[in-house]
């Protein structure tokens, strides 16, 4: 098993499948128990080092570590020495001195987990770095696809919206392609990085017209789009964005019967996704949250437990 999880590219098909299989076993093991806890990581310390507010990701990792009986330390950039200007390196050395077995890091700067991995001995898990990657999100998305549709290999997946600023999109392109899915990126050209067709995984397709794409997909994954992007001239107005790229009831009905709708959250209801779609039975949004805990348990188990 790998030592760190910094990028979805760290996972080949075999390793990724091992993570998904392990997550499924975690689900079963927990379901059978009265006390929803496994003793696997007892005595190990997991630090959640969060330089960005992200309650949902942090509590998901926290729940995952606690269900494996690890000790969890939450280190938030707000109200800590970080806000007093301590460098990432000094923070890393501090965590190192405390004996962290794993550091889960969320950081606004792309690549920060790579640097952290050079400064600590424990495992580093990238929980989202800038506009780079968010590999456990891709794993939980793949897990959700597998549990809903039975497989990832051969699926046609459309990822729609602000790909340029999306770490979720980058990790998903890498992981889903490795697992044999066909990924199509859809959005206004301003939000699709130039050359992304070949930059991450060969076979990635780029399309500008959502309506042309929808009838042929098994999965449509909507990305959060910040309204403020229009101030930087990425699109003229929120209304126009929604009209061209928002997933509403009419577009939902254009999807094949079996197709599912995903969103990494938090949603901008009314912007990229209409309430009708978000709350429809074909939406997996709440399931994704639940699967996030299982997948993160699997990753922590494989990175930490596997090493012992």
């Amino acid at each position: 098993m790998i030592r760190h999880l910094l990028s979805a590219a760290d996972l080949d098909a075999g390793t990724a499948t091992e993570v998904l299989d392990t997550a499924a076993r975690m689900d079963e093991a927990i379901a059978d128990r009265e006390v929803k806890k496994l003793p696997t990581l007892r005595g190990r310390t997991v630090v959640n080092l969060f330089y960005e507010d992200s309650t949902r990701t942090r509590i998901s990792f926290e729940a995952a570590a606690k269900r494996l009986s690890a000790d969890v330390i939450n280190f938030s950039a707000k109200g800590s020495s970080v806000s007093k200007g301590e460098s990432l390196k000094d923070t890393a050395l501090t965590l190192q001195a405390m004996g962290a077995d794993a550091v889960v890091i969320r950081h606004p700067a792309s690549g920060a987990p790579y640097q952290l991995a050079g400064w600590v001995n424990g495992s580093v898990l990238n929980a989202g770095d800038g506009t780079h990657e968010h590999p456990t999100q891709a794993l939980l998305d793949a897990y959700t696809m597998r549990s809903r549709l039975g497989r990832v290999d051969g699926l046609s997946v459309a990822i729609v919206g602000d790909v340029l600023h999306s770490r979720v999109a980058r990790s998903n392109v890498l992981l889903l392609s490795a697992l044999g899915a066909k990924v199509t990126l859809v959005g206004p050209p301003t939000l699709l990085p130039l050359g992304i067709e070949d930059a991450l995984a060969s076979g990635t397709e780029v399309r500008y017209d959502l309506d042309e794409v929808l009838p042929g997909v098994d999965v449509v994954m909507m990305l959060r789009v910040q309204r403020e992007r229009m101030e930087d001239a990425y699109f003229p107005s929120a209304r126009e964005y929604t009209r061209r790229y928002g997933l509403d009831g009419a577009r939902l009905r254009a999807l094949p019967e079996h197709a599912i709708v995903m969103h990494p959250g938090p949603m901008n209801r009314g912007m990229e996704i209409s309430p009708e779609v978000a709350d429809s039975p074909r939406s997996t949004i709440v399931e994704q949250v639940a699967n996030g805990v299982s997948v993160r348990m699997a990753v922590l188990y494989l990175l930490l437990g596997g090493a012992k």
Partner: protein
Amino acid sequence: MTTYLLKGVSLLGRDRTDLLLADGRITDASTAGAEVIDADGLVALPGLVDLHTHLREPGREDAETVESGSRAAALGGYTAVCAMANTEPVADTAGVVEQVWRLGRAAGLVDVQPVGAVTVGLGGEQLAELGAMAGSAARVRIFSDDGHCVADPRVMRRALEYVKAFDGVIAQHAEEPRLTVGAQMHEGSVSVRLGLAGWPAVAEEAIVARDALLAGHVGARLHVCHVSTAGSVEILRWAKRSGVRVTAEVTPHHLLLTDASAESYDPVFKVNPPLRTAEDIAALRAALADGTIDAVATDHAPHAVEDKECEWDYARPGMLGLETALSIVYQNGGLDWDQIAERMSRTPARIAGLADHGRDPVPGAPANLTLVDPQARWRVDPTALASGSRNTPYAGMALPGRVVHTFLRGEPTVFEGKATR
């Protein structure tokens, strides 16, 4: 003053000869009483001239001082460096440029020729007192807001015109700022993968093209700093063919390193303009060989450890260059020694208006020269560099060509690979 006799040097990599250094010049007078230096097989070059050096003083003496930077320069074979204006305070007055010039004289290791800012505080709006700087003891001829682009076309036009009065030249950091908001590295497949905001080639090329047109229109001299893209090379080729008085420089790192270096997220590879692609490198090397690019300039940019040992987004751009430039160019420039002398000494001296530099070491010339062992290889050890900073991108690399001696006005500033002061 000691008289030195350099025995058996290879002048510009060609004929073996002896050079006699007396009274600050190279002479053919009597060798009697001269101190003999065995220089057998060492290549004698005119002392190198750097058009683009950040010495950081005043303001960031923790990263570099005029003295430590001068020492690094001498060890790199330089006898003159042009000190960029983005200090704190900015070198936008006669007072600051004279201070830098005096610090250079006091250090006595290279001639430090201050560059003056084009606009007050590098703000891009109001012209600095260019004439006062030109008329000061520092005799400033190159003006640059380097680190920032003179982006306003009207301000740029005025600056180009204004310095015609004293044969000045505007050295432009070509970067359209509206196209590089938040930019972190070359925009291309690597930036897409790494999730780092892209610095597109067009942001440089748009300014190079605009400035070439402006310089042609007003008949002024333009110098383009650190050209980094194949597209800029094409524009320069066109401009020169069209008779525009434009010169251009390329850095050693843009001749060797690509954007793939960023994959480590190690900010030692963060630089502005950013490292580009292999295709750009090929175009830059060809342009340097055919003279479309006139000079190699280091863009030596020392940074304190805390400004580099951090997240890529937060790190300052820039890398050291003075002590490695000659080796990098020798290894990768595809140039012979005479061409190296042209691109690293004669032409930059001419651009900077430094009459005592850039002259081949033959009798009658000022004794500003450097002697290089072309056979020697050396390993770059950041802790062994003379610079006050450690941010070299070449750490651990074994490079060919080692500076053995450097002479400034007939006195050694570097002797047997060691700085003399």
